[in-house]
């Protein structure tokens, strides 16, 4: 499996990270080097093995369906880069 610059750009776009053409050219061999090394996992016979879901046996708990915390609008907005009228604000998404 070889990653070319077009694949790097596609993956970066999926990850929502802007990269330049020169970034993509630099990253392609780097990622290939790492992925080539990871490739050795394919030699392990795992045909009768279940994938790990939890390292320490633990059951997910249920709690009462009640409000435990709330009414913290201003605290939640406190670190927002931009907020108005008690909301997070973003560039216009609907024309």
């Amino acid at each position: 499996m070889s990653v070319d610059t077009a694949t790097v750009k596609k993956v970066a776009s999926l990850a929502r990270i802007a990269i330049s053409d020169s970034d993509a050219e630099r990253l392609a061999p780097e990622l290939n080097n790492i992925l080539g090394w990871i490739e050795q996992l394919s030699e392990v016979d795992t045909s009768s093995v279940e994938p790990t879901t939890a390292v320490i046996p633990n059951t997910l708990r249920l709690r009462e369906d009640v409000v435990t915390e709330g009414k913290q609008r201003d605290a939640i907005l406190q670190n927002a880069p931009q907020g108005e009228h008690g909301f997070f604000t973003v560039p216009k998404v609907v024309e």
Partner: protein
């Protein structure tokens, strides 16, 4: 007059209780040490007022004749991965620069509830991704150690908890929190001649700890003695309903139960950890460790963990995959950095914010994670890695039928010079001995064993069964008692 900054957690706690010195004297002394150690770059933010407030409370409680809290007046360092209310928390990243949480992480809250105070937020590898502390947005942490013979090349303090390890080794804090995803407590502890334990996955709450790889991330203490680690861990661990993977178990009295006698214990030596090219000094220290544990009454047996060589490649699929998912939250909307040029739309904003806010190693791992999770590759990479993880955990389970604990070196080398490992893959290989136990969620600890020819510390790792922190700490103590490790870096900072 004792210099209180030479004392560890237990001695400070006891001295404050007995009135040998006041908590204020302790806090003042450490605050001065921290402020003078800027050359180490161990702290991102210093918080002297927090430490002084805890000291004031401890001294007032003592004056009023009250029973002191378990860590009353003991100042510590807090890794910048833990959310601290009102104090900047960045995970050493640009994207979280200026972020002041409005809440406190469970682990840090427990420590403050126990009476501890905070000297500052410790530098680290960005989002805990790194083994040398070179990926921090706020600059490299410099190890207080230097090679002998006038070689002043700045050395790596290890990573990702490199601010924690450097500060403890330099005696500017008596102990600190760390977090360990693939070795981030144990490897820096080994590089700087201190101790650190990663408990069983689920012992310490992950709530309020900036997430890297959630199925692996685990908090733990770092300090200069095994007893100090036990004390701190007791005050960090415990059930937390806010973390769905938190274990609903009482916290054992690890400190009170500490014993360096290993009579009746079997120690396994995994033969697959004898890797090619391991320095003879590390081989020799490992053998020395075997002799120490035998001297403590243990029986030593060779065991096999056949899938060891696949642990690192599995880890470098699983951890980036989880990271790519966890770090999707940094979008420039709710907190942290926002990059938005005139006329740009929402998608442009996401991409520009993340391009500007994440460092190179973080981007690299997000891209790998996104790739291995993408359509068509998911089964070949991610599912296969999780299956291999099952085999690695099974190796350990099989080993436990022959032994109670495992002894290995912590890292394949002593500390390297900053800039020495430019190739990402070479850096990843540094975690070869710590990653397998992380994948299996096992408790594991590094304790200093000795010095190499260049005068740099080397660590030994003890790995235990799930929930057997006591066994790990006891074996750590047995090594500590016999290693007599008293070396310390000469102050140049």
């Amino acid at each position: 007059m004792t210099d209180v900054t030479d004392l560890g957690i237990a001695q400070l706690r006891d001295g404050i209780r007995l009135g040998t010195f006041s908590a204020r004297e302790v806090a003042d002394a450490f605050v001065v040490k921290v402020s003078k150690a800027k050359a180490l770059n161990a702290f991102i933010v210093e918080t002297p007022d927090h430490a002084l407030a805890a000291a004031k409370e401890a001294d007032a409680a003592r004056a009023a004749g009250e029973t002191l809290k378990p860590l009353a007046g003991v100042p510590i360092g807090m890794k910048d991965l833990f959310a601290t209310k009102g104090f900047q928390t960045t995970a050493a990243s640009h994207i979280l620069e200026g972020f002041k949480p409005v809440y406190e992480s469970t682990v840090s809250q427990r420590l403050w509830d126990a009476g501890a105070g905070m000297l500052g937020k410790l530098n680290m590898d960005q989002f805990a991704m790194g083994s040398s502390n070179e990926t921090s947005y706020f600059g490299n942490v410099i190890s207080p150690w230097r090679r002998g013979g006038g070689d002043n090349a700045p050395l790596a303090p290890g990573g990702s908890s490199g601010g924690s390890s450097a500060a403890i080794a330099a005696r500017i804090v008596p102990g600190a929190t760390g977090t360990d995803t693939g070795g981030s407590i144990r490897q820096p502890a080994a590089f700087t001649g201190i101790s650190g334990i990663k408990p069983t996955y689920g012992r310490c709450s992950r709530w309020g700890v900036v997430a890297f790889a959630s199925s692996l991330d685990q908090a733990g203490p770092m300090a200069r003695s095994v007893q100090d680690c036990a004390i701190l861990l007791e005050n960090m661990a415990g059930f937390d309903p806010k973390d769905s993977t938190s274990l609903e178990l009482a916290v054992p009295k690890w400190e009170a139960s500490l014993s360096g006698s290993l009579r009746g214990k079997k120690i396994g030596i995994p033969k697959e950890y004898r890797v090619d090219g391991m320095p003879a000094e590390i081989e020799a220290l490992w053998q020395q460790g075997v002799d120490w544990l035998k001297d403590a009454g243990a029986e030593v047996v060779e065991v096999s963990l056949p899938h060891t060589k696949y642990a690192l490649p599995a880890y470098y699929i699983i951890a980036p995959a989880e990271a790519s998912s966890n770090l999707a939250r940094y979008d420039g909307v709710r907190y942290g950095l926002r990059e938005l040029a005139e006329g740009q739309n929402l998608q442009d904003m996401y991409a520009a914010t993340r391009a500007a806010g994440f460092g190179e190693e973080v981007k690299r791992r997000i891209l790998i994670g996104t790739y291995v999770l993408s359509a068509g590759f998911y089964d070949a990479y991610y599912t296969q890695a999780q299956k291999v993880r099952t085999l690695i955990a099974r190796d350990f389970e099989n080993a436990w039928t022959y032994c109670d604990l495992l002894l290995t070196p912590t890292a394949p080398s002593a500390a390297f010079a900053l800039g020495d490992k430019g190739d990402p893959l070479a850096m990843y290989l540094n975690d070869v001995f710590t990653v397998p136990s992380s994948l299996a969620g096992l408790p594991a600890m590094s304790v200093p064993g000795g010095l190499d020819k260049g005068g740099l510390p080397l660590g030994l790792q003890i790995i235990g069964k799930p929930l057997d922190e006591q066994g790990v700490l006891d074996a750590g103590l047995a090594i500590e008692e016999r290693a007599g490790f008293t070396a310390r870096p000469q102050s140049w900072w």
